[in-house]
């Protein structure tokens, strides 16, 4: 019997495409024969806007890059500016940045795990994950007054010091978080239906991951043992001991569980950072109000929840960056989707997209 392929257009406003992404899918019955992500719907031209703002005014822009994790988006940009302008950040500011960034990694992974649960229909697991994310966001609200776009990490240090009572609130969160994660692990990842849905789909082997420039939990899920915090150590990370979680099969299940165990590791880092925190200034002294680094270009990257988020800054000596390029991990990870999604059914396609955990603010910039 002659069958004809059905071209389906998922998105850009579709409940589970994690933001504005349009998937042009050719279906043979339920099986996907060809998928092509069409991106660019959230392209605001951040790199062009950055050329029109001073170095401090660009920080609120970086909030809107990876809006699920704007803390480390700020940090990546600030590290590039500090490397360009040769600023030495005080000790306490580095510790605050690490604490805040690990908290943001947990919050971002909650979105990752939650959406992989929601894609397969387990709305309760999604809400348990989001309950944890909300506790982190309350911490950030107490710290810098915002719940999503924090504008907290600034070139030269951080904007505010901890309010009193914050450290205790943070410790109580970090104390209860691992058990909550294990509970979600039992509820969702241990469940036979979820294992059936997630295991074995969207398999990405290690070499293609490296060749395609995939980084972060998506790459670690397929066994690529590469984590910038340990392999290209920056800031005060060498002072903490933590393990890098690596999966083996490279399917959606492994990627999601790598994220889950990374949250537990982040709790470990936060506890060590909170123990080693001492009083001191939070902002470098003697910085000019309008930073004007000498001409040149600098690149710096950090390990964000989606991979190695890098910022390449070119300065021409004026108070405004000449060119800012954001190497966004979600953009590179998404490129792999056609490779790993063909041959699966329609419902799996969206689960695979969710397992790559793309955030389209960062993909489209």
């Amino acid at each position: 019997m002659r069958t004809e392929e059905l071209t389906l257009n998922l998105g850009p406003s579709h409940p589970s495409t994690h933001g504005v992404c349009r998937l042009v899918v050719r279906l043979d019955g339920e099986v996907v024969t060809h998928v092509e992500p069409v991106i660019g719907h959230l392209h605001r031209g951040i790199e062009k806007m950055a050329e029109n703002r001073t170095y401090l005014q660009v920080v609120p822009l970086t909030d809107r890059l990876d809006y699920v994790g704007s803390m480390y988006a700020n940090w990546a940009y600030c590290r590039a500016v500090e490397r360009l302008a040769g600023i030495r950040v005080p000790e306490r500011a580095e510790y605050l940045r690490v604490i805040v960034c690990e908290l943001q990694r947990i919050a971002s992974h909650m979105m990752g795990i939650g959406s992989s649960a929601a894609d397969t229909g387990a709305t309760s697991a999604f809400l348990y994950a989001f309950a944890q994310r909300d506790l982190v966001i309350d911490l950030f609200e107490a710290l810098c007054g915002a719940r999503l776009t924090y504008n907290y990490v600034r070139p030269g240090g951080v904007a505010f010091d901890l309010p009193e009572g914050w450290v205790e609130q943070c410790r109580s969160f970090v104390a209860q978080h691992p058990s909550a994660m294990l509970e979600i692990d039992e509820l969702f990842f241990g469940n036979v239906i979820a294992r059936a849905r997630l295991k074995g789909i969207g398999v990405l082997d290690a070499d293609t991951a490296v060749a395609w420039g995939v980084s972060g939990p998506s790459a670690r899920g397929s066994g690529v043992d590469w984590d910038l915090r340990r392999d290209d150590p920056y800031s005060v990370y060498p002072r903490f001991d933590f393990d890098v979680v690596v999966g083996s099969n490279g399917d959606a299940y492994d990627r999601a569980r790598v994220r889950l165990w990374e949250c537990i590791e982040s709790c470990r880092i936060i506890e060590q950072a909170l123990d080693q925190l001492e009083p001191g200034p939070v902002m470098a002294e003697g910085l000019p109000r309008l930073l004007a680094p000498r001409p040149g270009d600098a690149y710096d990257h950090i390990e964000s929840a989606r991979g190695s988020l890098g910022v390449y800054l070119v300065s021409d000596g004026s108070v405004r960056p000449y060119r800012m390029k954001v190497r966004s991990p979600a953009f590179c990870n998404l490129a792999v989707l056609p490779l790993i999604a063909t041959g699966h059914t329609l419902s799996d396609l969206l689960v695979i997209l969710g397992s790559l955990d793309p955030v389209f603010g960062e993909v489209d910039r």
Binding site: G121, L127, I193, T345, L350
Partner: protein, 316 residues
């Protein structure tokens, strides 16, 4: 002539029962789902949000019934009623009290199991009349799923009929012994899972899987027509639970008379809560896994149950 009048009266009563059941059911589902997900569920209207449906139902009544221009108008308009009718009909044969059922026929059990299969046709009609690819896929999925799950459902009820010796529900209820419960436990579980799949609920809600098809076969329905689909789903749930309560769990077993009917309704409510609990805990099964699960797990379990009953029958 009087039989026709009697039938119409029972029909209206069934519709009203299902409507009332649906109203309470939706509220209870939102409460159960809320508390499972660490939140309160409806709170504002009425004590603990009980009058929330008082606000929702009028809204649905006054909401505009959009009929898509490309749709096949007559089919589109009649599909919801065609889905709802079998559910209302299946209520008629359930024995509410010992020895009394609204429609006491000798083939009540067979009628109860056969009528929902009409829904399959109605769903296909609904899906096809919208001319919407996503709805079409949803409709096909629903059809394949319901046909698949009718077999284990029927097989799971067969041992009951064997033990009772007749297809008449009231007779089954009358012949019910307490040790039937442990004996028919496997059959009861298979029946429960199969009826969940029949209702397109819980882990098997493939047709209206929000993440992919955005609402499956009733995607383009809105307003009261959509509400009828909802009532059909809740009606099916109520009917299945009442039947299970009346037959598997022995109807008003510890008490007799009026208290018995209350016991049946209470057991049905308990079963409905379990169905909701299952829905809000588990993720969704994929289409091929759904069918494989039905033929490789449910049907053999039902056959095992038959064998068990077969062995026990001589001692009876």
């Amino acid at each position: 002539m009087s039989a026709l009048l009697l039938g119409i009266a029972w029909g209206i009563a069934a519709v009203l029962a299902i409507a009332g059941g649906a109203v309470i059911g939706v509220w209870w589902e939102r409460k159960v789902a809320g508390h499972i997900q660490l939140r309160y569920g409806p709170l504002q209207i009425g004590p603990a949000g009980s009058l929330q449906m008082l606000a929702d139902v009028p809204k649905l009544l006054f909401k505009e019934d959009i009929v898509p221009s490309a749709a096949d108008k007559p089919l589109f308009k009649w599909a919801p009623l065609m889905v709802f009718a079998p559910v209302a009909a299946s209520l008629a044969v359930i024995p509410f009290a010992a020895g009394w059922a609204p429609l006491d026929t000798s083939v009540g059990v067979l009628f109860f199991l056969a009528v929902p299969s009409l829904e399959v046709v109605a769903i296909l009609v609904a899906a096809w009349s919208q001319r919407n690819t996503l709805a079409a896929i949803g409709g096909l999925r629903a059809a394949s799923q319901m046909i698949a799950y009718e077999v284990p459902r029927a097989l799971s009820v067969l041992p009951l009929v064997l033990l009772a010796g007749s297809l008449r529900p009231t007779a089954v209820l009358g012949a019910w012994q307490w040790w039937w419960m442990p004996l028919l436990s496997i059959g009861f579980i298979v029946y429960l899972i199969a009826s969940i799949a029949e209702m397109n609920r819980g882990p098997f809600d493939l047709p209206e899987a929000e993440s992919e098809l955005v609402a499956g076969y009733f995607a383009d329905y809105s307003g009261m027509r959509w509400a009828i689909f909802m009532m059909a789903e809740y009606g099916a749930m109520i009917a299945a639970s009442l039947f299970a309560a009346a037959t598997f769990l022995g109807g008003g077993w510890p008490f007799g008379g009026a208290l018995g009917t209350a016991a049946i309704v209470l057991k049905a409510a308990l079963l409905i809560t379990v169905i909701m609990w299952v829905r809000w805990t588990f993720p969704r099964v994929r289409q091929d896994q759904l069918l494989r699960f039905c033929w490789t797990v449910l049907v053999p379990a039902a056959l095992v149950q038959l064998v068990v009953v077969g062995v026990v029958l001589p001692w009876m």
